[in-house]
């Protein structure tokens, strides 16, 4: 009997002690600071590390430790990874501006449903919330645009990320800090001098070089009303002028004393028995004279001089041009001359001057 009483007494004491410790234990556990779990695989990628760069996008990626749906996220920019950091106060990197930020794209991996809205009124603090976020959180990505980087070059700064299970930023789930750094931009500079290559000759100019250019005279032979005199000269040109180049021809038509052969204008086909002096820069069949332009460049004969078997000569005309910087291009100038029955006899000649003008 005594033994049973002892047992009862002991049992009631035990229950009382257990109850007391459970109560005390609850109190102690509650007194322990809330310790959110760590966000893992976390990083922040910035679109630019240049100091004071505006319009920078920050993309935060992390894995939540807990699958609880996230309804709000707070990100504080700080000069240290831990310790005091007060948004809009001490601890915010100098020059940083987040008040112009906006959510870039759609946050993912925080939960499903609803839509996210941002609050960026406090400099150094990015906040987004979505009271309808449900489902599960996992691998998350949140991006913000419109941020101005800190102003100090080669300076590390930190972003402390906290996720919350409510939309009021009161019940934290996970936390994690990431680091980024500004960095000097590297300005690479160089110069390219202006160049213009231009040559004329009667032979030796290839489709890539002026080096073999030679000759200054073109003999069209003896002209009769039933034969067409023809001959060729060459030109080569290249330039790095951004607006390209133009080649003009200057001089007179074939002349013998006071007598001249009629310059073809407008362009026309060769006509035996009709007094004509003309040229083009094409490969012709009537008469068979000339070669099409060649070379790596893309410059082309000008209108009036760019049709096979059609010839023209107007002093001062542009005969070829490029619209931009152009690699080497060879042109073959085809000359034709015809005489009529009344054409005065004599030795006809002219000196033609070609001018290449580049516009840089």
């Amino acid at each position: 009997m005594k033994s049973k009483q002892l047992i009862r007494k002991s049992g009631s004491r035990l229950r009382a002690l257990v109850a007391a410790f459970v109560i005390a234990g609850v109190t102690i556990v509650q007194a322990v600071p809330v310790s959110a779990a760590q966000l893992t695989s976390r990083s922040v990628t910035v679109s630019s590390s240049a100091p004071s760069e505006t319009g920078v996008t920050y993309t935060f990626n992390f894995d939540t430790a807990d699958t609880t749906p996230v309804q709000s996220v707070n990100i504080d920019f700080c000069t240290t990874a831990s310790g005091t950091c007060t948004p809009a106060g001490t601890g915010v990197p100098s020059g940083l501006t987040t008040t112009g930020a906006a959510i870039s794209g759609t946050p993912s991996g925080l939960g499903t449903g609803g839509s996210w809205t941002g609050v960026f009124t406090t400099n150094g603090r990015l906040r987004i919330s979505n009271a309808s976020s449900a489902g599960t959180a996992g691998t998350a990505s949140v991006a913000f645009s419109g941020i101005t980087n800190p102003s100090t070059a080669n300076s590390t700064y930190y972003m402390r990320v906290t996720t919350y299970s409510d939309a009021a930023y009161t019940t934290p789930i996970d936390t994690g800090t990431v680091a980024a750094s500004t960095a000097n931009q590297i300005t690479v500079s160089a110069s390219v001098d202006e160049t213009l290559t231009f040559c004329t000759g009667t032979s030796g100019i290839t489709t890539s070089s002026c080096s073999g250019a030679t000759g200054t005279s073109v003999n069209l032979g003896t002209l009769t009303p039933s034969t067409t005199g023809s001959g060729t000269s060459q030109m080569g040109a290249a330039t790095n002028a951004g607006s390209g180049y133009a080649i003009t021809v200057d001089g007179t038509t074939l002349t013998s004393g006071a007598n001249t052969l009629t310059a073809v204008d407008p362009a026309a086909a060769s006509a035996q028995g009709t007094e004509q002096f003309g040229m083009n820069l094409m490969a012709n069949t009537t008469p068979a004279v000339g070669t099409a332009p060649g070379g790596a460049g893309s410059a082309a004969p000008a209108a009036g001089y760019n049709t096979a078997d059609s010839f023209k000569f107007t002093p001062g005309d542009t005969v070829a041009s490029s619209t931009g910087a152009d690699d080497f291009r060879r042109f073959t100038v085809s000359y034709i001359a015809n005489v009529g029955n009344a054409t005065e006899p004599g030795n006809y000649s002219t000196t033609l001057t070609y001018v290449c003008t580049a516009t840089f």
Binding site: I186, A190, D193
Partner: protein, 242 residues
């Protein structure tokens, strides 16, 4: 007497639960984690088995990682679970001079990264090639060698001998035992150059001490490269994963 012993056992168990139940954030599981470990002194320099390895650096300025196939740890005089990143671009300008169709121009710039307590980092280069009046020097979108007379703009992170001796391989500071930064594929072959804005040019596969990188620049022009003054800004971005 027997019940008093039982009482003591129950009380002790409750104390243990109360005392340790609410403070397991530093040592926890889903399959074990120790966020920070500090040993005051006397640690073994190197202790290893087939599956476990420990290496301690007491009094050193750097943090030394060690790892087996399944486990890793970092030790040093000062360790912290805070993310750590030191990133410095030490050059603000690279003047390549007067470009020529017959001669490749070169230049270098340097940057350094130290990024421990992380799972490594990547370094990207962002920015357009040097440009003049809307014309950009042709970026070498595929890895290739320098070719005078062909318009090219490219970089690598190596010590080169062609078109001339210039550049340097990444330098591990204080040594390769602590630092692991490497040039990325495409930028890690001497005399081969490449440039694609946004590409990763260097990375450390794990927490790393300081690595000093040298960017080697080349530029070539063709007959058609428009004349003028060319400039381009390259931004180097380092992203650590923690």
């Amino acid at each position: 007497m027997l019940f008093r012993k039982r009482q003591a056992v129950v009380i002790a168990a409750i104390f243990l639960v109360v005392l340790f139940g609410g403070s397991v954030s530093a040592l926890r599981s889903n399959s074990y984690q120790i966020e920070e470990d500090f040993i005051g002194g006397g640690g073994a320099i190197d202790a290893a088995s087939n599956s476990y390895r420990s290496q301690d650096s007491i009094g050193a300025t750097a943090v030394g990682p060690s790892a087996s196939a399944h486990n890793g740890t970092q030790s040093g005089a000062t360790t912290t679970d805070d993310p750590m990143l030191e990133f410095s671009v030490n050059s603000s300008g690279v003047a390549l001079g007067q470009l020529s169709t017959s001669l490749t121009r070169t230049g270098t710039a340097t940057f350094s990264v130290r990024n421990y307590t992380s799972y490594g980092y990547v370094v990207q280069v962002v920015g357009a090639p040097p440009a003049n009046n809307g014309h950009e020097l042709a970026a070498m979108t595929s890895t290739a060698s320098s070719s005078a007379g062909t318009e090219q703009f490219g970089i690598n992170l190596m010590a080169n001998t062609n078109p001339q001796t210039f550049g340097a391989v990444p330098v591990q500071v204080p040594s390769g035992d602590f630092s692991y930064g490497q040039a990325e594929s495409g930028y890690n072959t001497a005399n081969q150059y490449r440039y694609n804005s946004g590409e990763i040019i260097a990375r450390a596969p794990k927490s790393s001490g300081q690595t000093d990188y040298t960017i080697s620049y080349i530029a070539n022009i063709s007959n058609q490269t428009p004349s003028g003054a060319y400039t381009g800004k390259q931004t180097i971005i380092c992203t650590g994963t923690y």
